[in-house]
Symmetry: none
Subunit: 197 residues, 4 copies
């Protein structure tokens, strides 16, 4: 119970302040617990952050895998999977923004995240993108998507999704997410160029 309180508080504080500006003191105050308690459940600030990310993304990753393996026409599957992404990212936009920043840090091992830790985070993103690749590849094989570098295309799609969210272009309502998913899918699939003929 205390553990969950701490994780919830950590979610709020990390989201608001970023990894470095978030202080254990603030998390503790919000979690209504003692500072020592945090260190009973988590070995340090970094591992608290990691645990938070892991637990928050678990359900999303499961849903992503399921969506990818549905039997469905490629183009509509693309839109569906975009929606799954948007649902998760809009709900966790702030925390994930923080995560994406911290992942970079070629910084020293002392501050910021450990190199090893960072690799774990990166793996998560790679997994997500590989799902998109798989779907695109499927589409190509079925002739619904034109031949292209699926890796780059998947990356591009992922980027647009993430940026759309991070730029605050999507609301949190189901409708808003639906509309954004359609809009992204439309541009991604058909481009912005005028079609002649």
């Amino acid at each position: 119970m205390k553990r969950q309180q701490i994780l919830d508080a950590a979610y709020t504080v990390f989201s608001r302040k970023g990894y470095h500006c978030a202080t254990v003191d603030e998390i503790v105050a919000l979690a209504d617990t003692g500072k020592g308690t945090v260190y009973n459940y988590f070995v340090n600030k970094e591992q608290l952050f990691y645990t938070l990310i892991k637990e928050r993304s678990a359900a999303f990753e499961a849903k992503l895998d399921i969506t990818a393996s549905l039997a469905e026409p490629p183009l509509s599957k693309v839109e569906k999977v975009i929606k799954v992404f948007l649902e998760f990212y809009t709900a966790n936009a702030d925390l994930w923004r923080v995560l994406m920043h911290e992942m970079r840090g070629l910084g020293n091992e002392e501050k910021g995240l450990t190199q090893a830790q960072r690799e774990k985070y990166r793996e998560k993103f790679r997994h997500s993108i590989s799902i998109l690749e798989k779907i695109l590849q499927e589409g190509i094989e079925q002739g619904a998507i034109r031949k292209c570098d699926v890796h780059k295309a998947a990356h591009g799609l992922f980027s647009v999704i993430v940026m759309t969210v991070f730029q605050g272009c999507v609301g949190q309502t189901a409708d808003s997410i639906d509309a954004a998913a359609r809009s992204i899918a439309d541009i991604f699939l058909y481009g912005v160029a005028a079609r002649h003929g």
Copy 2:
């Protein structure tokens, strides 16, 4: 001279460590100067960071404006402007990643950047995106680009460019940038959907 040494060192350290983990001590060590010297030229760490951003982006912004006002077919102008973006962002990827993170309201007013300061940074991005909008709008008027929400489309394009760079998908060579620009323009303009007829 010392001023430039400091700015160069700051570029390296901020890029590697991010704004918070970068220490003045490290910048000073790399710049091969005394700590006091930094404070002779810059009022504090934040203003050093800001100056860095401003000086690094000046040439880029000028070039962007010029490119936007060239008389040229819309579609090829899109590709050209994408190239301008890519050239700048690949050369400054790490620092801009840091900037984009700090710009978010994260962190308290004390640490991190001032609210007022952040607004200045945001203005830079707004300007870049407005250039894209202008070009797209031009394309629509000339019938080269299909009607769409230019603001959203510009945002999307900007996002793809930035993300492409930040994901490390582009090398620093002119060839690599050319290829990436073409690839982004291609997907952005024509989408990934197979064209039938």
Copy 3:
């Protein structure tokens, strides 16, 4: 307990060095504690100083009020109250000298004391002097003291007391204080001029 150790050390260091030259490091060393501990109990150096003043003067102020309200002949009450002042000021001469210096608007708002803080300190002195005024006024009403501007006279008396202490003219022994009190009272009440008649 640590709190008291810190206050005791702060008393010594502030008394010896003055507000500005006193360093937290030195206080910490003397208090035999860690630097962070100081900041657990006091928000900053200034508030540590203020707390010190407040706690040290509390007992004195209480005693002053009591002495002022005793039923006693005015002239002997004047001597008594002078003694109360001397007892306190001789015991805290160094720290109070520091306080009186800092109270002046000297120094910028950043360093030194806040304007607001200074006002609090000044209030303490105003209170002390008003007690003297009250006693002198009483004396005038009872015909024991000749009519004069009580505010100025109280100020003058206060000044003599404080200066006597600050000039180091009084020892710490009860006898020394008694003698000084009598001497001050004598000159203040009867002047130094020879009386003819």
Copy 4:
């Protein structure tokens, strides 16, 4: 010429900020000169301060000596000498307040003033007080002043003068100074006690 500009600026800044909060930068800015120039004329901040004190008090000390050796009735000589004090101290109140504070510092030799330096300052005050003693002693010998500890009495008188000034009870006009001198002389000579008979 530069030398005098620096001394004038130093007077202003030391008076306003106190010894420690005054910065060489500020003095230099006010003196409209270069920082190095200060160190051409004065060996360091402390010696600049000392020089300032010395030059400012020279005329006063001369006048004091003259006044003391005038052939004049003791009581009126007391009032005259009080006036000399008041004239000087009201004109230099802020700087002398600063001086009196710095003189104390039992502080370390590093910051604040040197022990040796402090002794020089103290000597100045001792001299002033000894003048008062001399006048009082003269008065006693001539029967105008009742027998008392002249050292203590001189100290007391000096204290009242200084405090009167420091408390801001005296204006800078000749009239204000005259009035204050008479008032101090009156209380000092005749006391505040009612005279019966």
